[in-house]
Subunit: 98 residues, 2 copies
Amino acid sequence: MITTCVDVFVKEDCIQDFIKATEKNHRGSVSEPDNFRFDILQSNDNPCHFVLYEVYKTAEGVAAHKETAHYLEWRDTVADMMAKPRQGNKFTMLFPEA
Amino acid sequence: MITTCVDVFVKEDCIQDFIKATEKNHRGSVSEPDNFRFDILQSNDNPCHFVLYEVYKTAEGVAAHKETAHYLEWRDTVADMMAKPRQGNKFTMLFPEA
């Protein structure tokens, strides 16, 4: 399965607004048919550091996510909250198997 | 929930043996009562780079994992496969909620 770990660093005064916007994106994303995981993590060492852990069963599912209303709203809502550009790292999930 | 992302870099000639040992650890770990996720990822950019994505419902579950036979066997089996010491980063899972 196709896994993307997205590191996001937000400005300190945006933490609560970021969580609110990202919860909405989470709820929409887990309802997508090809989604397997869409976990939202906050670092214990740095509360400004979040990770979006996104797993999709297919490449089509990854592409479809980028077209959804909830993703597009999230992207625009959080753009100015970020302390630096977000970075996605790609992995293949070996276990559990699809 | 308590989330640990463990970055592991293995020697190139150990990749297949590492996957085999880690699959066994995965199967044992997901059967633990307090385990929520125990995903095994391999980087698309560097096949020597793995992430163990471990989520537990309680601190007791995290501690209990370290006492299991499958964890102890994995730890000893993979020790010499690593190119450098593994590193765990701690997060709190915000969504999904427990």
